[in-house]
């Protein structure tokens, strides 16, 4: 005659409420651990996503196209012809592309001078790929021609980062002289007006970057042949590899139709992970850290479980002896203890998940505000962040955290369970 195991479920459930305070403390420990794991993952996931967003949204885009020599040596002459831009735009209508040019130069303001990286962007195309031009701290972004200087010299507008503005004591409307070696070997120079100062986004750009229009760049550099970089935004980030393959194929066909010069090397398509390997590695690392931390926190919390169940088994030694004597099988006793632990773990998982999700969503919505201690935000992995840390609640992480907690808690109750198996009624009852 089979025994209906529901009776063990029933007794186990009653046993939990035998010492409600002790059970609740165990639940608090486990649920508290779970909440910590969930919140930790919310923060790491939030920062990770912020990093990806910053990396892709602010400057990199999802994919980039360069010549090999530009990637390897920042070779000024390693350009891609302008016809490539039109061809890519017509052949891949699903993507947005923004061409860029780079050159090193010396910037002088009234107070001092410093080395800068000049970056030329297309004011129309760039906003379709990145939001770098909308990160305005002061002024208005305008890369067109500016009013002539007091001496009547022609000027162009440029945009700089916060740190460079600070270093050179620049304000909106200040004048800036850029000197560089042009593509033809001559000294190129120009007079510029600061149209806007940008929020710190990319640490390197913030310190040294000067944004200007492609026309102004070409006029100063005598470099008409093409562009250095094409930043590309795809519709769907999930299909990064697919978009990359599509672009790669298009570029390969293009190079066959319109061969590139020999010196600049092949055209190279890379995704943002390949462009920012440190960020990509950091993301992987911090995500695996969440798992490690999760096991540590939950492991510590489940010592509470171990203790509770050891005590429960210990104080019921006599009771178990009686039950064994009247015909209970020791594996049923073990099952009962396991079910009891499972209930504790389940209650903890539910409580922890509810509190964790609730507070995780709060962090996701409102973020954690550090503007009191770090008004300028913080730097991490070469990127500058706003002083508000935003979390991201990933349901899959909550589920795996709950599973890990339940698993570890059940593992820690195996030892107490195993003790019931060794009970001998005659010895217990003495």
């Amino acid at each position: 005659m089979p025994v209906n195991p529901s009776v063990f479920v029933f007794i186990a459930w009653r046993n939990i409420w035998r010492y409600p305070v002790r059970s609740l403390l165990t639940v608090f420990a486990l649920a508290g651990g779970l909440v910590m794991v969930i919140l930790y993952s919310v923060l790491v996931e939030g920062i990770s996503r912020q990093m990806v967003d910053y990396a892709t949204e602010m400057s990199t885009g999802h994919l980039q196209l360069h010549r090999r020599a530009f990637v390897d040596e920042q070779d000024l002459y390693a350009t891609l012809p302008w016809s490539y831009l039109d061809a890519i735009e017509t052949r891949l209508p699903d993507i947005s592309a923004a061409p860029r040019l780079y050159a090193a130069g010396l910037a002088s303001a009234q107070a001092s001078s410093t080395g800068v990286l000049m970056k030329a962007v297309d004011a129309v195309r760039e906003p379709m790929v990145t939001s770098v031009l909308s990160q305005v701290r002061s002024g208005t972004v305008d890369l067109g021609p500016a009013s002539p200087s007091e001496e009547g010299l022609e000027r162009h507008n440029v945009v700089v980062g916060t740190q460079l503005a600070k270093n050179l004591k620049l304000q909106v409307g200040s004048e800036l002289i850029l000197v560089t070696q042009a593509a033809d070997g001559s000294i190129g120079n120009g007079l510029f007006r600061i149209a806007a100062i940008l929020n710190p986004v990319d640490t390197a750009f913030d310190r040294t970057g000067v944004l200007m229009s492609i026309e102004a760049f070409q006029a100063m550099m005598y470099l008409q042949t093409g562009f250095h970089e094409l930043a590309i935004k795809t519709r769907d980030t999930a299909d990064l590899e697919i978009s990359q393959a599509a672009l790669d194929a298009t570029v390969r066909r293009l190079t066959a139709e319109q061969p590139l010069d020999a010196l600049g090397g092949a055209a190279l398509v890379r995704n943002w992970r390949e462009i920012n390997p440190t960020i990509s590695d950091m993301l992987e690392l911090s995500r695996s850290m969440v798992i490690v931390m999760g096991f540590i926190i939950v492991g510590l919390a489940s010592f509470g479980m171990l203790n509770t169940m050891l005590m429960a088994v210990h104080e019921r030694t006599h009771e178990f002896g009686i039950l064994l004597a009247i015909g209970m099988k020791s594996r049923w006793l073990m099952l009962m203890v396991l079910i009891e632990s499972f209930f504790l773990a389940l209650i903890s998982a539910l409580a922890g998940a509810v509190i964790g999700v609730w507070s995780g969503r709060y962090i996701q919505r409102h973020g954690i505000d550090f503007s009191g201690t770090m008004p300028d935000g913080y730097d991490w992995a070469g990127m500058s962040f706003e002083p508000v840390m935003r979390g991201h609640l990933e349901p899959a992480h909550v589920i795996s955290a709950c599973l890990i907690m339940t698993l570890v808690a059940m593992l820690s109750s195996l030892f107490p369970c195993w003790r019931t198996v060794r009970l001998k009624p005659a010895e217990v009852m003495r």
Partner: protein, 236 residues
């Protein structure tokens, strides 16, 4: 008819260097329906003997046949089924599962036996009424007196109609009034159900009610006698 037959039961406990001979060559037959008391000074071997009869402990040598089956040869899992289906146990105290009501405690064995819900509920109620706890059925053990708890244990032991009920000092924690009352109930039920009882006791007032007195001393049976019942009426 003989229900229980012990032959040459010896039990030696070994504690490190010291050996204790708790039982020395016990031969004993108990017939069906007997109401027998196991008496003797402390340490004489009463508990040891009851544990061997109940399959809770194995003898060092000898055989113990119950209903024709030698229980000393049974494996652990067979023993637990043997206890579940053939025996009833009443211990000194704390017999009951604290988180279950009196009724649930009585039902528990029948649940383990796999009896249908209706039947076991009806039987449990019936036996609790028989031991005078018809009103206290839904209380937990902590809300029952020591005497009441022992009566629940009696109901539990009898509700599944075992062949033999073993009780090791069932009255040891009770005052003499409660002890007498419990013995009366046990005796009455034993008569009505023709259930065989073997119980151990120190208490002379409890011994009085036994129909057979088996005296142990130093692990041997010192005397074994049927008590004259003529002068005492079985309580109704």
């Amino acid at each position: 008819m003989t229900l229980l037959s012990l032959q040459g039961i010896c039990k030696t406990f070994r504690q490190g260097e010291i050996e204790v001979e708790a039982l020395k060559n016990i031969d004993l037959d108990v017939d069906e329906g007997e109401f027998a008391a196991l008496v003797g000074p402390s340490g004489s071997g009463k508990t040891t003997l009851l544990n061997i009869i109940g399959g809770l402990d194995a003898p060092t040598s000898g055989t113990a046949h119950l209903n024709g089956i030698d229980i000393t040869r049974l494996k652990e899992s067979q023993l637990s089924d043997f206890r579940l289906f053939q025996l009833g146990f009443i211990f000194q105290a704390y017999n009951l599962v604290p988180v279950l009501s009196a009724l649930e405690n009585v039902e528990l064995i029948m649940i383990l036996q796999g009896r249908p819900a209706k039947e076991r509920r009806a039987r449990a109620q019936h036996y609790l009424e028989l031991v005078g706890l018809g009103r206290e059925m839904n209380r937990r053990p902590s809300a029952l007196s020591g005497g009441q708890q022992q009566r629940v244990a009696v109901a539990r032991a009898l509700a599944c109609e075992p062949r033999l009920v073993l009780a090791d000092e069932p009255t040891a924690n009770l005052d003499s009034e409660n002890a007498s009352a419990l013995l009366d109930i046990m005796h009455k039920l034993s008569r009505e159900q023709k259930t065989t009882f073997i119980f151990s006791t120190h208490d002379p007032r409890v011994m009085e009610r036994a129909e057979r007195l088996i005296k142990l001393r130093d692990g041997r049976i010192e005397s074994d006698a049927v008590v004259e019942q003529a002068d005492r009426a079985v309580p109704a």
